[in-house]
Structures are given as structure tokens and as C-alpha cells.
């Protein structure tokens, strides 16, 4: 990187960096609460915060289109589906004593080890790498549309087929249970 020498160090952050770190901390905190809270619906709502935080990070990285997709799909649909699922499986109000399974310790150990390894490797590798976010936006709708429908058309179409298959699959799964237990609707 020819700009490697020109960029400021870690001790003199730019405004974008400060915002990024702040939002990142909030996101991470929301994620941690989401995976540790004993209230199931709260977990899903904290997940909304975490996903929204990631959307903001996308905006900060000038990937605007992806940020809105993130909001539309994740916050608007995925989390709603998750909440649906939680409510249909009778998530209680208040704390569930058995929200966590028996291998919390092992999970914690593995997660901490993975985090340590990844952070170490990433920091070691990208200590002095600089992203230039001040130039032209990298993820405007025009740019994204052009690359998506010019270079990535075939994967895009394949994905549409996958979505269709998932749609059909979900319908089939739901229909089967209603046929097996007709009294339950």
C-alpha cells in the first residue's frame, strides 16, 4: 500500500474510526447480551440491535446498498421470523432457567480460544493496512447493480432458484404437520 506511510496511527484516529469503534462496541455488547441473556425474546431483540449496528458499520464502510439490504432482510424479516418462532414455541416472559445447555464451559473455552486466535492472527496480519473510505462510495446502488447484473448474473439466478426451493421446502414442511395433526391449528 502506497498510502501505508501516510495514514495516521492508531493513537490519532479519524472521526469515522471513532464512530466505527463506538458502534462496534455497542454491536458487540448487544451480541454478547443476545447470546447470554436468559430471556428468549430479549435475546432476539438484542440481536436486532446487533444487526442494526452491523448495518451502521456497513454505512461507515460506504457500502450503502448492503446496509439497507441488511436492514430490510435481517431486521425486517429474519428477526421477525425468529420472534415468530419463539412465540409459537411458547417462549415465556421472564427468565428461562434452561436457556443454556450443559456445555457452557466447553463452549466458552472454545469461543475464547477462537476469539484469541482470530484476533491475534488478524491483528498480526493487518496491523498497518489502511482502508480509504473518503473516495467514491464503494457500495452505491448504481455500482452494486452494475456488478451484480453484469458479472454476477449467473450466481444471482442460481440463488433465485435456491430461494424458490427454500420457499417450496418451507411450505411443504408446514403443510405436512398440519395434515398429520389436523386438530392442531
Amino acid at each position: 500500500m502506497n498510502v501505508a506511510a501516510a495514514h495516521p496511527g492508531f493513537l490519532s484516529p479519524t472521526g469515522v474510526e471513532i464512530v466505527f469503534v463506538l458502534v462496534g462496541v455497542a454491536t458487540l455488547a448487544a451480541a454478547v447480551v443476545s447470546v447470554t441473556t436468559k430471556q428468549l425474546v430479549h435475546a432476539a431483540l438484542w440481536l436486532v440491535v446487533a444487526l442494526g449496528g452491523v448495518a451502521v458499520e456497513y454505512l461507515l464502510l460506504t457500502a450503502e446498498f448492503i446496509a439497507w439490504v441488511q436492514v430490510l432482510i435481517y431486521v425486517g424479516s429474519v428477526v421477525v421470523l425468529v420472534l415468530f418462532g419463539l412465540m409459537l414455541t411458547k417462549a415465556p416472559i421472564g427468565r428461562s432457567p434452561d436457556a443454556d445447555s450443559g456445555n457452557r464451559i466447553a463452549a466458552l473455552a472454545v469461543a475464547v480460544a477462537a476469539a484469541g486466535t482470530l484476533v491475534w492472527v488478524v491483528v498480526d496480519a493487518f496491523r498497518s493496512t489502511w482502508i480509504d473510505v473518503d473516495g467514491a462510495p464503494q457500495g452505491s446502488t448504481k455500482v452494486t447493480g452494475e456488478i451484480l447484473f453484469r458479472h454476477w448474473v449467473l450466481p444471482f439466478e442460481a440463488l433465485s432458484v435456491l430461494l424458490l426451493a427454500a420457499l417450496v421446502g418451507a411450505i411443504v414442511l408446514s403443510r405436512k404437520q398440519s395434515r398429520q395433526q389436523p386438530g392442531e391449528r
Binding site: E64, V71, T141
Partner: protein
Amino acid sequence: MSDALEVILRLLAVLVAFLVLPLVVGQTEHKVMAHMQGRLGPMYAGGFHGWAQLVADGVKFAQKEDVVPADADRKIFQLAPAVALLPYLLVLIAIPIGPGGLVGQDIDAGLFFVLAVMGVGVLGSLMAGWASANKFSLLGGLRSAAQLMSYELPMLLAAASVAMAAGTLSLPGIVDAYAWWWTPWQLIGAVVFFTAGLAELQRPPFDMPVADSEIIFGAYTEYTGMRFALFLLAEYAGIVVLCGLTTVLFLGGWHGPWSDSLGWLWTLLKTAALAFVVIWLRVTYPRLREDQLQRFAWTVLIPLALTQIALTGVVKVVIS
């Protein structure tokens, strides 16, 4: 410094609009419904034509005790109205009123932004329904969530048709590209968009999730006072946003005679006309049953929206 000032001024203007327009719509609804149904009640408060009815309502809401049910999840219960209301405020930022930057913030993917943020509003209903610890509320919340998910799709498709026609996702860009013949061209899309929007707002005749004769008041059963007023405000804000969006997307926004100077007036007029239609529909049509609601979305609106996309694509290819 002037940049920051300008941004603050714009946001302030949006906030003012957000606070005023829904109230206007609410007042209009009172009056229009009263006239259409021949009701005398709302005609008394304040003397002339019952002009102070809305003020009286506000006072009543403010006076009421803010009750949270004992078994409810307090925080979420209290947070839900805000979650339901905020998205509409955010959306309002992106809707252009007049030419030459008369908009809260010109967002590159404005249409996309609007639809994405509006989708978040559903969380408010779900949170309210679940946190109330009331089976009617839960059912209502689930129903409204299901309804919002179903009608999101035709709405997106209809909006996509317009985006295709204009070749941009920016809302001012779309209005700029508008020509008078777009309205007949995109007529099906307009109807689909408007209908789906109505359903997203759970306005009659799509109000099964909050139908008082069915499940009390759906997700909002346990709410009283200001929090309930916020939900109502969200609904009226939703009407404003929907009508504004329909105006911008399908009716040409500020286009009209003397649009250079009076563009904002055209937008507001068109929006108001649509809002009137919304109210009119409320008093006209009977309520759809829950299964009819879902079937209507999947078997009528989505095929229609797809037809519109195909039509748009064909015409676009032909004229290019």
C-alpha cells in the same frame, strides 16, 4: 458549519412535519367519518364544526394513567410504541416535497431505505403483543406480523416496477424522471402499492389484527394513555408516509402547473387527496377475514405486481 446548520434545519422541518401532518390527518378522519356516517358526536367540541375534538382527545390521552400489566415484560412493553413510531419519522426524512432539494436528506437508495425502515415497524407490534402477557395481544401481534410480512412482498414488487421505469432508486430522481403517461402505465402497480400499504398500516378493511370485535384491540389491548396515543400517532404517520410515497412514486410528486414555485403544494395536495381516499375506504368496505387477508396478498396482489413488472420491463425495452 453551514452544512451542519442546514442539516439541523432540515431535520427540524421534518420533525415539524412529522408532528403536524398526522394530527391533521387524524382530525380530517374525525370529520370525514362523521360526515359520511352522519355522526353528530364529533361536531360539538369547541363549537364550530367540533374543531377542538382532536385537542380534547389529546388532553384525554394525556390525563389517563399509564398502566403496565403486572405480568408484562415492562421494558419491552414500554419500548414498543417508540419502535412502532420511529421508523415513520425516519422514512419521512427521505420523502421529497418539492424540486431543488426540498427533501430531508437525499438518499442514494431512497426507495430502498424507505421500504427497509418501514419494515422495522412490525417489530413494534410484535413487541407490544408479546410483552402484554395477554393472549389477545399475542394473537394480534402474531397476526399483524404475519400480515406485514405478506404485504411487504407486493409492495416491494410494485416499488421495484417504478424503480425500473425511472432507472434509479433515489426518490427525487424518480420524481424527476416522471412523465404524465407514467400514471396509466404504472396504474396496476399504484393500486397494488397503495392497497398493500393500507394492509401494512392495518387500516380497514385490512384491520383484522386489531379488530375490536374480534380480539379486543389486538396488540394494543393493554395500552392506555400516552403510549396508546403513540400507537395511534404511528398509524396516522403511516398514512402520511404511505400517501406521500404513493404520490412520489406514482402520481408525479411535485409535477403540476407552476411546479417550479408551487411544487411542494402539489405534493401536499396529492398526499391529502390520497389520505382522504384512505379514510373513505375505511368507512366504505367491510373487514376481511384473516384467511382472506392472506389469500388476497398471495393470490391477487403478488400476481398483479408481477404483471406490472413484466409490463414495465416490456415497455422499457420498447421505448429505449
